[in-house]
């Protein structure tokens, strides 16, 4: 990489040199960012990618001369148009933040003030900094809302944040960041919390609007395929160091470093389908209808079945009722109609009335390992309780079994003495898996078990689950919105949309053409490792829309 200062002196907008950032943790300062240098030219989009803990968000915020509470910039230089932001006084920084550099956070829902209308929040920076009057800012808001394809752009500003959907809110935040027509926008995982189908809309809108205004951007994501759609150059970070930087196309087609190659290969993993001879049906759901408060129907006539040793994936966007199906099966939400059968026998719809033995045979693993483990219990206790509860094990026998379980999930015996806070996200999820296995179940319901984890960690978890299935012949019901996970792990797929099963069948049948229209929409929305993918998909959908085909069934 040639030094930008010499090649394009006037063009260079942001130039960060040897940036060191520290965080205060356990009574000492620890380095988070260890000497990263980068530059962004005018109108250029730089993608920052890496796993959690790579320091990408920290760098993103540091471009505004800011750090999170408990962090500080140790040394280095942050030049924005030649002005040093590191150590600049508050007044200078205030003039920069908003009008010149702005920031789009990951969770729009958490970033908006729920008590104020969108327009009021939109105009705040612009009016406060004296860039424009309230009326001008309001006009600008409408213009940007229109450009970002928000419905009813003239009126949407009158709504409160909870009155628009997640994807729309995220676009509103992009609009807000564009309010003063800044030179640089930092996008911090803006689409990570969204469904694939919504992600594509937001991604398309962001791409269009920054191209139209010629805004430079730093786009932070853990998903290489997403970054590839929007960035001109990509920088890969790991543990606070730069791994490599390069033009997007070159990075995708010909990465230099092993780590980048590993990130690329995550997407390509495919688990081979194993032929299962057994036709022993473990669980059968028949015509289940469920509702919250007897009014809002969330499941409408859902039927499916799970064979021993097989993995059935339940796929759909948020709101499709897939998690509700799990609640019905586990007995947390008794259905208003239909029945659940376990080994051919109809089971009690209410959790409380189910016998212990039945509960043992069905276990669950949750999406957020952070909240699924009691923070005050040691791993030993978390794993020991089901052993004691279901099998009456205690003392040495239980301790030995705990060690066996730890071995199964590939953790060292020392982990028995740890508290959940002392584990990483992936390790926590492994402990959750072990807790389920401790009961020696026949069916494990996995509710989005990998979506809160980094890609490489998620891959490890999926591998582990696959290994355990081969050894123990346990069946999985895999609830997910991530189609890559589905491709990697499932034998059988159930596609759900708005509480109904759209289609179900063998993986090969569902994932090979011809597609059912909704399945097609889902499949085509998964970002591919190809910088032209987004343009192609949007163009294709535009054509369909022009022909009057409604993709949403």
């Amino acid at each position: 990489m040639s030094d930008p200062v010499y090649t394009s002196k006037t063009n260079c907008l942001l130039n960060i040199r040897d940036l060191y950032i520290e965080g205060y943790q356990e009574e000492e300062w620890r380095q988070i960012v260890k000497g990263v240098s980068l530059h962004v030219n005018r109108g250029e989009v730089l993608g920052l990618i890496g796993e959690s803990g790579a320091g990408k968000s920290t760098i993103g915020i540091a471009t505004m001369g800011y750090t999170r509470a408990g962090c500080r910039i140790k040394s280095g230089s942050i030049l924005f148009e030649g002005n040093e932001l590191f150590g600049a006084d508050d007044e200078t920084l205030r003039k920069m933040r908003g009008p010149r550099i702005s920031y789009v956070a990951q969770s729009a829902a958490a970033s908006f003030n729920p008590a104020q209308k969108l327009t009021h929040q939109f105009v705040e920076t612009a009016v406060q900094e004296g860039v424009m009057s309230f009326a001008e800012a309001e006009g600008r808001a409408k213009e940007l809302f229109r450009r970002l394809d928000l419905p009813d752009p003239d009126k949407i500003g009158e709504r409160y944040p909870h009155q628009v959907s997640g994807g729309q809110l995220q676009r509103c935040m992009v609009a807000m960041a564009m309010a003063c027509n800044p030179d640089l926008i930092v996008f911090d995982e803006p689409t990570t919390a969204l469904d694939v189908t919504t992600q594509i809309e937001v991604l398309g809108a962001i791409k269009e609007v920054i191209e139209a205004y010629g805004t430079a951007a730093i786009y932070i994501s853990h998903d290489l395929a997403v970054v590839a759609q929007i960035a001109d150059r990509i920088m890969v970070l790991r543990h606070g160091f730069e791994v490599e930087t390069g033009e997007t196309r070159q990075m995708i087609e010909n990465p230099k470093e092993d780590y980048t190659r590993e990130l690329l290969s995550v997407r390509k993993s495919r688990g081979e389908t194993v032929d299962h001879e057994s036709e022993e049906i473990v669980l059968e759901v028949k015509n289940v209808k469920a509702a919250y408060g007897n009014k809002v129907i969330v499941l409408d006539g859902v039927s499916t079945k799970i064979v021993r040793g097989e993995t059935v994936s339940i796929v759909g966007e948020s709101g499709s009722g897939k998690s509700t199906l799990a609640r019905v099966i586990t007995g947390l939400l008794p259905p208003i109609d239909g029945e659940v059968r376990f080994h051919g026998n109809s089971i009690q719809p209410m959790l409380k009335k189910r016998p212990k033995e039945l509960l043992r045979r069905m276990q669950m693993i949750y999406q957020m390992p952070d909240t699924a483990l009691n923070p005050k219990h040691k791993v030993k206790k978390i794993l020991g309780r089901p052993l004691n509860f279901y099998f009456g094990m205690s003392g040495k026998e239980r301790d030995l079994r705990i060690l066996e379980l730890l071995e199964m999930i590939e953790l060292e015996p020392e982990y028995a003495e740890r508290l959940p806070d002392e584990l990483s996200g992936g390790e926590k999820q492994r402990v959750c898996i072990a807790r389920a296995l401790a009961a020696e179940p026949e069916l494990i319901i996995c509710d989005e078990v990998t979506s809160a984890l980094d890609q490489l960690v998620a891959k490890g978890i999926l591998k582990l689950l696959q290994k355990l299935q081969n050894e123990l012949k346990v069946s999985y019901m895999f609830i997910t919105h991530d189609l890559d996970t589905v491709k990697a792990i499932s034998d059988h797929i159930v596609v759900m949309y708005q509480g109904k099963v759209v289609e179900q069948g063998q993986k090969t049948v569902i994932l090979d053409p011809p597609y059912e229209p909704y399945t097609d929409l889902l499949l085509s929305s998964v970002p591919e490792m190809d910088p032209d993918w987004l343009n192609r998909v949007i163009e294709h959908r535009q054509k369909l829309a022009d022909k009057g085909v409604n993709i949403r069934t």
Partner: protein, 289 residues
């Protein structure tokens, strides 16, 4: 056990100076309460001299064989000795009462939060009814009807305070109850007691401990005010609130005796509050991370 001790020492070291001061005040009070018979020069009910003798450093102090450090009270008992014994009575009573209030209140609150539905409604509405009465008036009514024995006193104050504890523990437990680990325990088939004791309680402990300190102060002051009204601990038992009342008329003669037990009440209350503040700060700080 050893690691726990080490942790405790580490925690103490990291505490602020105000917390250390508070802890010192509490330790001093507990020390006095425990060793009252040794420390006190006179007996709780023993007459030491004349009525309202001035303290030892005053120029009008009377000569005694055994020193009357803080002077005497309205019938000539040694005030210092009575303060020591008063600490014993008042602090023990307040502690036992708060402990009972906490047990009843938090178990009730946890049950309400875990079972929800009609159980929650019944318990919560009962608490609402109790809370609708002004506390002092409710206590006065019950004490007048049932008599002012120590068990009744403990029962009344514990009942009134358990309603406050119920509210807070229910709110805290509600937040914990929606966590997936509680769901996991339910799916395992765990009973109510396990869920409350093992899943909810350890995670609700820090706000509850802080509340315990605060509640202890309120109970302490409440006992003192009941004693002041003549419905608390009955004479000749020494009690700080009662001592203020007994000596209150001294104020009109310009004698400062009643202010001494009052200062003792203030002293302990401030001490406990300093510690509670620190604890609350710490608990909320942990939550923020």
């Amino acid at each position: 056990m050893v690691t726990k001790m080490k942790d405790a020492i580490k925690l103490l070291r990291s505490s602020s100076w105000s917390a250390k001061l508070g802890l010192a005040i509490i330790a001093l009070n507990i020390f006095c309460a425990l060793f009252a018979p040794v420390l006190a020069p006179y007996n709780e009910t023993e007459l030491a001299g004349d009525v309202w003798e001035p303290p030892i450093w005053s120029e009008y102090a009377m000569p005694h064989d055994t020193p009357v450090i803080l002077g005497t009270d309205h019938i000539g008992r040694d005030l210092f000795s009575r303060l020591m014994f008063g600490a014993r009575n008042t602090i023990t009573l307040a502690f036992v009462t708060t402990a009972i209030a906490f047990f009843v209140g938090s178990v009730g609150g946890f049950i309400a939060a875990t079972l929800k539905g009609w159980v929650d409604q019944t318990l919560s509405r009962m608490v609402d009814i109790l809370m609708a009465f002004p506390t002092l008036i409710l206590a006065l009514v019950i004490l007048t009807v049932m008599g002012t024995s120590i068990p009744v006193l403990v029962f009344v104050i514990a009942l009134i305070d358990s309603t406050r504890v119920f509210r807070i523990s229910r709110a805290v437990a509600m937040d914990i109850e929606v966590m997936e680990y509680v769901d996991a325990a339910r799916l395992r088939g765990e009973g109510l007691w396990w869920v409350m004791k093992e899943e909810i309680l350890p995670n609700a402990l820090s706000p509850l401990v802080a509340e315990f300190g605060l509640r202890f102060c309120f109970v302490f002051l409440f006992i003192s005010s009941l004693s002041f009204l003549g419905l608390g601990l009955q004479p000749p038992l020494a009690d700080w609130g009662g001592m203020v009342r007994e000596n209150s008329s001294a104020i009109s003669f310009g004698i400062l005796t009643p202010l001494i037990p009052a200062a003792a009440i203030a002293f302990l209350t401030v001490g406990v509050n300093l510690v509670v503040d620190w604890f609350l700060h710490k608990a909320s700080g942990i939550k923020d991370v």
